[in-house]
């Protein structure tokens, strides 16, 4: 339950950062937090109380492993999602730096040459 | 050439430690990779590595670890005391000390050893001068006091790396 509350809190903080902060970098941070909230959700879905990591040890029998481990699929999803998030974050930061170069500001509200 | 071999040995040891497998395929790959790494590292001039392959230097290195640990723990207790003391009895400042060590590697090891010892932090190393931030600079002759503690390390480090 606490984890779910944390998840909601992450979502809220992420959205807050995304919406309320003018600084582009802070927006990126907000987005990253949002991303992590989603990853957390994925984990929560696959979590089994008292379960172990879904890695098969040498000599472990299959049925026992299945019984013990948490659901591996969400974990795989999270891994992939983290990779994707990493790529996106990298791209975003690169863009933000370039924005600073071009607009001489990191204030998102001033980055509005394209409108109408 | 010797440098490359030494680097290779250390890299290979790390590989074996990490993989902890004596599967021939794995060992072969690891050896190849270590060799590649060693060759690639050649321009970096790892003069330390060949020295550490000499048995007596290695011995001193092994001895140095607990000695350093002892210093570290002792100083740690001192810092811990200052940190939890309600009055925060500190007297910080940056002092300068000179080392008699000649090689850069030895000086760096010294600098890091000093840093690892709580209460002292090597802010910079310029030539033979060490700029050390101390959490509690002694009231009397701070330079000399620092110089003395440095000399303890220097003895070991000289035997390891010079």
């Amino acid at each position: 339950m606490t984890m779910w509350a944390l998840l909601i809190a992450f979502l809220a903080v992420g959205f807050y950062g995304l919406l309320a902060k003018r600084n582009v970098i802070k927006k990126i941070l907000g987005l990253t937090i949002l991303d992590h909230a989603v990853n957390l959700l994925l984990i929560m879905i696959g979590y089994r109380h008292g379960g172990c990591a879904p890695i098969r040890l040498p000599g472990e029998d299959h049925a026992g492993f299945v019984a013990r481990s948490v659901d591996p699929i969400p974990q795989a999803l999270v891994l992939t999602s983290i990779v994707i998030g990493l790529g996106i974050t990298m791209l975003m930061v690169a863009l933000a730096l370039r924005i600073r170069q071009c607009y001489r500001t990191l204030d998102g509200t001033e980055v509005n040459r394209l409108k109408g | 050439m010797f440098r490359v071999i030494a680097t290779f040995v250390f890299a290979f040891l790390v590989y074996l430690a990490v993989t902890w497998s004596l599967d021939p395929a794995s060992v072969l790959i690891g050896a190849a990779a270590s060799l590649a790494a060693a060759v690639a590292m050649r321009p970096l001039e790892l003069e330390v590595a060949p020295l550490l392959l000499l048995p007596h230097r290695l011995l001193f290195a092994v001895i140095y670890v607990p000695v350093l640990l002892w210093y570290v723990i002792r100083a740690n207790l001192d810092v811990a005391y200052r940190v939890i003391h309600p009055k925060l009895p500190i007297r910080p400042g940056i002092v300068k000390a000179r080392t008699t060590l000649k090689t850069a590697a030895a000086r760096v090891l010294l600098a890091n050893s000093i840093t690892l010892t709580p209460g002292t932090l090597t802010v910079d190393l310029v030539g033979d001068a060490l700029y050390i931030h101390r959490i509690a600079v002694p009231e009397k002759e701070p330079e000399a006091e620092m110089q003395r503690s440095i000399e303890h390390f220097e003895g070991f480090i000289r035997r390891i790396l010079e």
Binding site: L18, R22, V111, N112 | -
Partner: protein, 615 residues
């Protein structure tokens, strides 16, 4: 006769037009001439046949598009008329553009394709197919005007926009009409067998959409404004071919089909249609009165004449429908003739401004005569064709017990006559401005179509009953229309063209005789001196436009007409302004700030969730 022959009037100009697109200029003209002639021939070949061609093409849900073309007596004649218009236009254009570097753009190719489209509309047996061909005509009008000259672009845009509105309305109406769950819902047979009742909103809406489509094409008020705008930049052959004649033919043809066979109009709707007709008559003719540019003036008359057709069809009486449809045919003939004439004068005299023209009847006698006949015809002077059809419309008003509309129609007719007196006076009579001294008669290629059309004006007037009998009857699928016309109609009176003609000829002959006897030809010509200096002939002129200055000075009407001239009542301009406001508002919402956009997304997500959970 082979059913595939029905396709000939479409395929000939269509294929030749496409071929002509890729030919060099001179060959293109030849192909245009031959192709339109062949189209005319193919159309004429169809006049006495009743065939239909049917090829199932596409069935998708309720959408059913068969290649079904059919010809009956009426559409055969219309097909021939389209061919005739195309032929005369091609002939005229060849001469009109001679010495000017040839026809601009790929005029002949577009002309042929437009003819193919018009033939398709006329011969289609499936409403959707009709719409398809209809759009091709719209497109060709746009292409003809925009490639005609660099100045044509705005006019073409306006025309395409208004016609596009009509087309969209027509498509919507078509789809609504076809959405009633019948087999082959768009086939004429299905539509005629299951007329739509207009008692409910669906019916009214459907009819209004179809009506808007037809009205925009034909140029009924308030969707007429593209025609006068186009009059300036579009060349006379183009004006004569599409806006003046073919577009009316198509629009009114559709309106007749819709309101006669596919939709049963309630009295209220009939009244509305008649009102549109009456308003169109008056607005068009009044606006025409104050024009100085002959092409613009003619284009307002082109609008005005549509009013008669709409009014006639709107009465819902058989005689009215016949009158409206016959007027549509007649209008194509005399209006094309008038535009040809005006174009000839413009080409030879170098101006379209009525104030700068005058006294050309000697220099251009053939043009003058043809325009004279056409002008009398459009003014509804017996025994010309315009009178016959107008007479039928008047009768329809009487039958439908709409005295107000009758008065409007009569008034419009009188004003038309007055207007054309002005035109003829300004162009052909009165003093000739010195700038026009070297003006010659138009070339043979331009005279021939005018003469042909003028002769048709006379023939259709004198033998008015014959075309009605031959051609127009089948529109209502009544086999013996002439029987009806001759007396079977519950008309207030009957019209015997032959008798009237004989009487009129006798009267005219008597008049000419009297004139000769009275020495009316003796006219004194002398110079005028003021203050010792000979007055310039130009200053001494009294152009016809002066007569109608007084119209402007009438308090309410004058101001209204001025406003109309400025485009105050132009739906295109009105909606342009409204749309501009909406656009500015929407654009100001796009602030360029990412946070705002994020808020929109959140709002959108909120709306989505709200619909899912609270609806």
């Amino acid at each position: 006769m082979n059913a595939e022959l029905v396709l000939l009037p479409i395929l000939i100009p269509g294929v030749l037009g496409l071929v002509a697109l890729f030919l060099p200029g001179r060959l293109r003209a030849v192909l245009g001439f031959l192709g339109s002639l062949a189209t005319l021939a193919a159309g004429l070949a169809l006049v006495s046949t009743r065939e239909s061609f049917h090829h199932a093409w596409l069935v998708l849900g309720p959408l059913n598009l068969d290649f079904s073309f059919r010809v009956d007596g009426f559409t055969g004649w219309l097909s021939a008329l389209v061919g005739l218009c195309a032929f005369f236009t091609a002939l005229y254009a060849a001469d009109f553009f001679r010495g000017r570097g040839g026809a601009p753009g790929r005029l002949y190719a577009w002309l042929l394709i437009a003819a193919a489209g018009a033939e398709g509309v006329v011969l289609a047996g499936n409403l959707l197919l009709l719409v398809l061909c209809w759009e091709i005509v719209t497109l060709m009008l746009f292409v003809l005007v925009i490639t005609g000259s660099p100045e044509g672009a705005p006019a073409a845009a306006k025309a395409f926009t208004i016609l596009g509105f009509g087309d969209v309305a027509l498509i919507l109406g078509t789809v609504l009409l076809g959405s009633r769950g019948f087999d082959h819902p768009m086939d004429f047979a299905t539509l005629a067998a299951n007329p739509l009742a207009t008692g409910d909103l669906f019916g009214v809406l459907t009819f209004l959409l179809l009506f808007a489509g037809a009205a925009a094409k034909a140029g009924a008020v308030p969707l007429h404004t593209w025609i006068p705008t186009m009059a300036g930049p579009a060349s006379p052959p183009v004006m004569a071919f599409l806006p003046a004649s073919l577009d009316k033919v198509l629009g009114i043809y559709l309106l007749a089909r819709v309101s006669v066979s596919w939709v049963t109009l309630t009295p209220g709707l009939q009244f509305a249609v008649m009102a549109v007709g009456a308003i169109t008559i008056l607005a068009g003719v009044l606006m025409a009165m104050v024009q100085h540019d002959v092409k613009r003036l003619l284009s307002f008359h082109a609008v005005s004449q549509v009013g008669y057709m709409v009014l006639g069809i709107g009465t819902g009486t058989l005689v009215g429908v016949l009158g409206g449809v016959f007027h549509m045919v007649n209008n194509a003939i005399y209006k094309a003739c008038l535009f040809f004439g005006a174009g000839a004068v413009e080409r030879e005299a170098g101006t379209r401004d009525l104030g700068k023209l005058g006294g050309l009847h000697r220099a251009m006698p053939v043009t003058f005569l043809c325009m004279f006949v056409a002008a009398l015809s459009i003014s509804g002077v017996p025994p010309l064709n315009g009178f016959v059809s107008k007479w039928l419309v008047y009768q329809a008003c009487v039958v439908a017990r709409q005295p107000l509309f009758l008065v409007a129609a009569l008034f419009g007719s009188v004003l038309t006559l007055a207007s054309f007196v002005k035109v003829l006076h300004s162009m052909f009579w009165g003093a000739r401005p010195p700038a026009l001294d070297g003006v010659n008669e138009a070339g043979i290629g331009m005279r021939l179509p005018m003469v042909g059309l003028a002769i048709l004006c006379v023939l259709l007037g004198v033998f008015g009953g014959a075309p009605l009998d031959q051609a127009i009857g089948p529109v209502k699928d009544v086999p013996a229309a002439s029987v009806a016309l001759a007396g079977g109609l519950d008309a207030a009176g009957t019209f015997r063209p032959g008798v009237v003609t004989i009487l009129l000829v006798i009267g005219v002959l008597a008049g000419i005789l009297a004139a000769h006897l009275g020495g009316a030809r003796a006219r004194r010509v002398r110079s005028v001196f003021i203050g010792g200096e000979p007055l310039d002939r130009a200053q001494n002129r009294f152009p016809g436009t002066e007569f109608y200055r007084t119209v402007h000075e009438m308090p309410l009407l004058g101001r209204t007409l001025d406003a109309g001239e400025k485009g105050v009542f132009d739906v295109y301009a009105i909606f342009g302004k409204l749309g501009g406001g909406v656009i500015r508002g929407l654009r100001s919402l796009h602030t360029g700030v990412i946070t705002d956009y994020l808020f929109w997304c959140l709002l959108g997500l909120g709306a989505v969730l709200a619909v899912f959970f609270w609806c």
